[in-house]
């Protein structure tokens, strides 16, 4: 019951009572109308009986029945039914007609002289009347019967003509229910549209508009949203605290190892402090990336906002250009408007990871281009370099956390692209890895589903 559609359920529940009402309606309409209709036919039979009675001649010798052939013909000329008659003397002898036509059943043997009844002649159902006709000083009995073709046809016609409007009403009822349910459920459809249209991080309560019946649902949903939002807020708070607690001592550690290295040191000691310094830098970067990864998790994302990849890239351009210059790289931009809806912090993180990868893996003198814009009405950002690139066979694996292409120089954690991948997925965007221009270098792009 619960898995099927409401409409189907409602129709299934409505069909039996509608069918019952239909049947009852037919019965109620049929019997009152069949009675007067058959009454007219009976009356015609009675008329025939009375007129047949007038042809009985009674005398001392007995009774005669002289039916003129013309009358006989008229009697037989019915288009549909066969007419039988039987004339019985007061003494009970057959005078004329069909001897096989049974008389009225004893319980109907009424004194007033007119009886109607159903019986059978020669294997056919017939409607019969028994009429008392004066013959001499006594009374003869005339039985007239006809087969029931006309009557059945009439009954059928009455039935059909009374059923037809009822069927129409039933059909109309079903159609009204079908569309009425759809219409009645429109607030629910609107509600689901509204929820569907939300961006993943949007946990604001749903507006409680709509009919009374949907309000408990909205209230329950809002309760749930509120709980999720609270969990998300506390997760974000935790990450902010964790970031602070982790980064500040790391910054201190880094400052002191650098200070130590700036002093004259015994060789063995210097090597050790250099190791500590390297490890500190790696740890710092790892902490940053793990925090970024945790922030990209569904529960920790910030509220989505309208932003522009062009503006996000532009805001970080200065920082990136200085990093690129420090490694003697030519970092350039081709920025066109690329509006997207998302978490600006995460989007910036994704962009920064792509640019940092290009900077880290390009040999000195290399050329890096950051591009934003729209293609086929979809916003995109891509970073292209002419460095070593990623071999096609490795492209799927580099998206895994902590995976590094074997033989890659440097001390990367193998998290950069995994973070980008996670952030892209969280925004319903796709991440593509390919070659740069002329099949050289690397081109990594994020294409959004919207623009």
């Amino acid at each position: 019951m619960s898995e099927r559609s409401l409409r189907a359920n409602l129709l299934r529940m409505l069909l039996p009572p509608i069918a019952a009402v239909l049947a009852l309606g037919a019965v109620v309409a049929y019997f009152p109308s069949i009675e007067p209709a058959t009454e007219a036919y009976d009356q015609a039979l009675v008329d025939v009986g009375v007129s047949l009675g007038s042809y009985i001649r009674g005398s001392q010798a007995g009774y005669r029945f002289d039916l003129p052939p013309a009358v006989e013909q008229v009697l037989r000329r019915d288009r549909f039914d066969t007419v039988y008659y039987r004339v019985i003397s007061p003494g009970g002898q057959d005078i004329a007609g069909e001897a096989g036509l049974p008389g009225p059943p004893p319980e109907k043997d009424a004194r007033e002289g007119l009886v109607r009844y159903d019986t059978r002649v020669r294997g056919d159902d017939v409607r019969a009347v028994s009429v008392q006709a004066p013959c001499g000083r006594s009374t003869c009995t005339v039985l007239v019967a006809e087969t029931t073709v006309k009557r059945s046809r009439l009954a059928r016609e009455i039935l059909v003509s009374s059923l037809f409007p009822e069927l129409l009403i039933a059909a109309a009822t079903l159609v009204i229910v079908w569309f009425g349910v759809k219409r009645g459920l429109r607030p629910l459809a609107r509600l689901s549209e509204e929820i569907k249209a939300r961006s993943p991080g949007d946990l604001r309560p749903i507006e409680a508009a709509g009919p009374e019946e949907t309000r408990p649902l909205v209230a329950a949903l809002n309760g749930l949203l509120n709980e999720v939002a609270q969990a998300s807020r506390s997760q974000q708070r935790f990450l902010a605290d964790a970031a602070h607690q982790l980064r500040t001592p790391l910054a201190g550690l880094q400052a002191h190892t650098e200070l130590a290295l700036a002093q004259p040191l015994p060789e063995a000691c210097r090597a050790q402090i250099e190791q500590v310094h390297e490890a500190t830098i790696r740890t710092a970067r790892l902490a940053n990336q793990l925090l970024a990864l945790a922030r990209a998790e569904p529960g920790a994302r910030g509220a989505a906002a309208e932003c522009d990849l062009k503006a996000l890239a532009g805001a970080s351009a200065d920082e990136w250009v200085h990093q690129a210059l420090a490694r003697e790289l030519d970092l350039g931009f081709e920025l066109e408007a690329a509006p997207v809806r998302g978490d600006p912090l995460l989007l910036r993180e994704a962009l920064a990871n792509l640019v940092h990868n290009a900077i880290a893996y390009s040999p000195p003198g290399g050329r890096i281009t950051v591009r934003t814009g729209k293609r086929d009405a979809r916003s995109f950002v891509e970073v292209e370099d002419d460095g070593p690139g990623i071999p096609p066979g490795e492209r799927a694996r580099v998206l895994e956390r902590f995976y590094r292409v074997p033989g890659t120089p440097g001390t990367g954690s193998g998290l950069g692209l995994a973070i980008v991948h996670e952030i892209a997925a969280g925004h319903g965007a796709s991440l593509t890895l390919g070659e740069g221009a002329q099949g050289r270098g690397c081109r990594v792009g994020i294409t959004f589903a919207h623009g």
Partner: protein, 228 residues
Amino acid sequence: MRLLIVEDDAPLATGLSRILAAEGHAVDVTSRGEAAVAAASRERFDLVILDIGLPQMDGFEVLRRLRAAQEEKGAPVPVLVLTARDAIDDRVRGLDLGADDYMVKPFAMPELTARVRALLRRSQAHAGPRMVHGPLTLDMVARRAFLKNESLELAAREWAVLEVLLARVEKIVSKEAIIQAVAGWGDELSPNAIEVYVSRLRSKLEPAGVRIRTVRGFGYMLEEYKDS
């Protein structure tokens, strides 16, 4: 130069202060926002390095009070904000409140010292009615330029472009930002026109070692002047 470090993490504060002292600066350290505001009102600092995550009075509040106090005195002290949080709001809020630069912990010390130097140079260039960059001097009052103490002829538009770049020396400036700053008289300026002014400036300045770098597809940067 006289620097004030406002940082509550003792190891980091001492590390920073020793590194900057080694660069030849006089460094004061405090771990509390209230003390920082008091010190800045008493004495003149050339740069404040301010941590956002301070106990009690946080860095934003310190920044707001520093800027409010300076509005009366003039000559704003450059502020480099440090934060361990990377919430974008922090960055925007910090820059809105008048921070001059922004760094997320942990950072490499050479990067910090480079930023400190750039901030100091920028604020020195602005000091008084003159902007100075190596051998280049712009007299803002007389609107005259000098290169190696010789008068330098600059067209009005060239002057305007150079002024924008000099105000943000060592920072990249987008073409749009240059157009906005230069086309202040209601006329249209194409990006191509900016290229023309920059190329004229280059031919005048490069012989003296003042370099304008092109950032492909973005804009320009007046590079740090290095005495060769």
